[in-house]
């Protein structure tokens, strides 16, 4: 576990469409960034009305509550809810969504974002790639003085996002960074089990089912919390475990990482330093 905080003063924003996505695809990295000094903010673009097995209204309320609990488990400072209708984001204005993300990135002065790959190969959930696409655009636009310039009226100034971590959410999606999340595994599991409307309670449900059948699984323990955590560890994190093996650690998350753009002005200054000659007057 990191004890020093080299990133104190830096800010990251994790943007997902549905409650369980950040904990599942990037919960370990989020916990790690917080531990290393980052201040984290969480943005959910949908209202998750389609997830939870209840009425749309009950699903919205349950997911909203669970989202806050999940954010707390990972150490996020605050949560932004954009509340677009789940699985219907195709119908919204991309520009309006981008504008809201630009506002948030500027407001919190985001240095790093986590979200879905804008191209999202193999992704059947349109909410995900629409969210990723808007995040990518907003990262750039947030640094542009002339875009949404009215924000300056509230003292909210342009601020470019310099690093992006795109989730590896489907087989076949590209990644170029593997993050050892082993020390943060418990935090990741804590976050996933808070998402009860999106499979976080699978362990306790299984334990109840088995009890009805007169059976039990040793690993599910004697209480719901233990059962939920054990279920996540055993069944939901298999791919994170399997991929980590090749890198010599226990659990890993994968990302397509895009770092800060190259500083062109430094190149120019370097060229000047090497080639400029003194003027003869």
């Amino acid at each position: 576990m990191q004890t020093i905080q080299p990133h104190r003063g830096s800010v990251f924003v994790a943007v997902h469409a549905h409650v369980a996505e950040v904990p599942h695809f990037g919960g370990g990295l989020c916990a790690r960034l917080v531990a290393e000094g980052y201040t984290g903010f969480l943005v959910r673009t949908t209202n998750d009305e389609s997830s939870g097995g209840k009425t749309a209204a009950q699903n919205i309320l349950a997911n909203e509550t669970e989202h806050a609990a999940m954010a707390k488990a990972l150490g996020f400072k605050d949560v932004f809810e954009l509340s677009y209708c789940s699985h219907r984001m195709n119908e919204i204005s991309p520009l309006e969504l981008r504008g809201r993300l630009v506002f948030i990135f500027r407001l919190v002065k985001a240095d790093v974002v986590l979200s879905f790959r804008p191209s999202s190969e193999g992704e059947p959930d349109s909410d995900r790639w629409i969210t990723g696409r808007a995040v990518e655009e907003a990262c750039q636009t947030a640094g542009s003085t002339n875009d949404f310039h009215e924000h300056a009226e509230a003292g909210i100034l342009p601020h470019a996002v310099r690093q992006r971590y795109w989730f590896h959410a489907r087989p076949g999606q590209a990644f170029n960074r593997v993050v050892d999340i082993t020390p943060y595994l418990d935090k990741k599991i804590d976050a996933i089990v808070e998402c009860r409307s999106q499979n976080g309670d699978a362990g306790s449900l299984l334990r109840a089912r088995l009890a009805k059948e007169g059976r039990r699984l040793e690993m599910l323990g004697d209480d719901d919390r233990t059962a939920d955590r054990a279920y996540v560890r055993q069944f939901l994190l298999e791919e994170f475990r399997a991929y980590a093996q090749g890198h010599g650690f226990d659990y890993a998350e994968r990302f397509d990482y895009i770092g800060p753009p190259e500083d062109q002005s430094a190149k120019v200054e370097d060229y000047i330093a090497k080639n400029a000659v003194r003027m003869v007057r």
Binding site: D78, F80, I92, S93, R100, I104, F148, E150, A154, I156
Partner: protein, 351 residues
């Protein structure tokens, strides 16, 4: 043009009577003989000089509770904020510049918000955008606005975009600026040819309501507060516009400010260097019009005031005032709950 001539009224025209009367049609009268007596007209054909299409619209529909708003003394609106939202740099100065100037003089802090980039007027697209940006700033200054803000959407293409995005930006500004009162094109203005006007009117209307409630909660995390727009002044575009009018504002004391605001639009709208051009035209005919004076500024000022503003004076005459502007005015919400409680208390008996 024939239509305007037919509708031209029988107004007594003061400042430039000879020219004005030349534009009157002998057939023009209060009621057309072609309209059978059993029909009651539901719209009033306005009286116009024919000097400019961009003053009062062809028709108004007047509400039975119409009120005339006159000058007030002092600064009764101190602490309040108005936002005048226009699609183009000439909309506010032409159609409601007098009332905006009046309210600012009476204490309002004013902000001018221009939504388009006005690229459609200018020798090139770039020239149009740059000159209108500068002109819009000067219009705001002439009206006494604290600031002019431009959004730069493409001119005459605003129905191409998502109105929700524009509305979101307006909600943000209304909350930041703590706006109490807005001016904009009537979102229900009939027969308006310009799509930008309708888009802006609808966006403003929605933003007025939504800026007071819980939409865009991220704004509140930035420390902004909901703002409740208490008063709305909707104006009609001319000549084709037609809206319901329930408020006539006497802008006689502010007609010079309005004139100057219109002069600030150098390449958009009917003002610009019109006075200078008219003087040159007369000179080429071997004539001069004393009204236009001996310098460019005087010529342009008098041209705008005595030709382009003349229809506003004719409108004012109908209400016994000098210059007038007409609005669909929507005032503060009725305090329903207070009324229910008051009525309940009056009818209550002791426990």
């Amino acid at each position: 043009m024939r239509r305007r001539k037919f509708l031209a009224g029988t107004a007594a025209l003061g400042a430039v009577p000879a020219l004005a009367q030349a534009n009157q049609s002998p057939a023009a009268r209060e009621r057309s003989p072609d309209l059978p007596a059993r029909f009651t007209p539901s719209a009033w054909a306005t009286r116009k000089t024919g000097y400019t299409p961009f003053a009062v619209p062809d028709y108004f529909t007047f509400a039975s509770d119409l009120a005339v708003e006159r000058n007030v003394t002092g600064k009764p609106h101190t602490g309040k904020v108005l936002a005048a939202v226009q699609a183009h740099s000439d909309d506010i100065p032409l159609f409601c510049g007098g009332t905006v100037a009046k309210l600012i003089d009476e204490g309002y802090a004013g902000y001018l918000i221009r939504v388009s980039n006005d690229e459609a007027s200018g020798t090139t697209l770039g020239h149009g955008v740059a000159q209108n940006e500068s002109d819009a700033q000067n219009v705001g200054k002439q009206l006494g606005c604290r600031k002019t803000i431009s959004f730069y959407y493409r001119n005459h293409r605003m129905d191409d975009g998502a109105i929700i995005e524009l509305r979101a930006r307006l909600i943000f500004l209304f909350r930041v600026l703590r706006v109490n009162t807005i001016f904009t094109m009537d979102p229900y203005n009939h027969y308006d040819e310009n799509p930008d006007h309708i888009v802006v009117g609808k966006a403003v209307e929605g933003a007025c309501w939504m800026s007071g409630n819980r939409d865009y909660p991220e704004h509140y995390k930035a420390g902004l507060q909901p703002t409740h727009i208490q008063e709305k002044f909707y104006y009609a575009r001319s000549p084709q516009g037609h809206n319901l009018v329930n408020r006539i504002v006497d802008v006689s004391s502010y007609i010079d400010v309005k004139t100057r605001a219109n002069m600030a639009n150098l390449i958009k709208g009917p003002a610009g260097n019109g006075g200078v051009r008219l003087r040159e035209y007369l000179r080429a005919q071997g004539k001069r019009l004393p009204l236009l004076g001996n310098d460019d500024d005087t010529a342009n000022f008098q041209y705008v005031k005595h030709f382009l503003m003349e229809d506003f004076r004719v409108l004012g005459q109908q209400f016994g005032i000098g210059y007038a502007e007409a609005f669909r005015y929507i005032g503060p919400d009725t305090p329903y709950l207070d009324r229910i409680r008051r009525a309940a208390l009056e009818q209550s008996v002791a426990l």
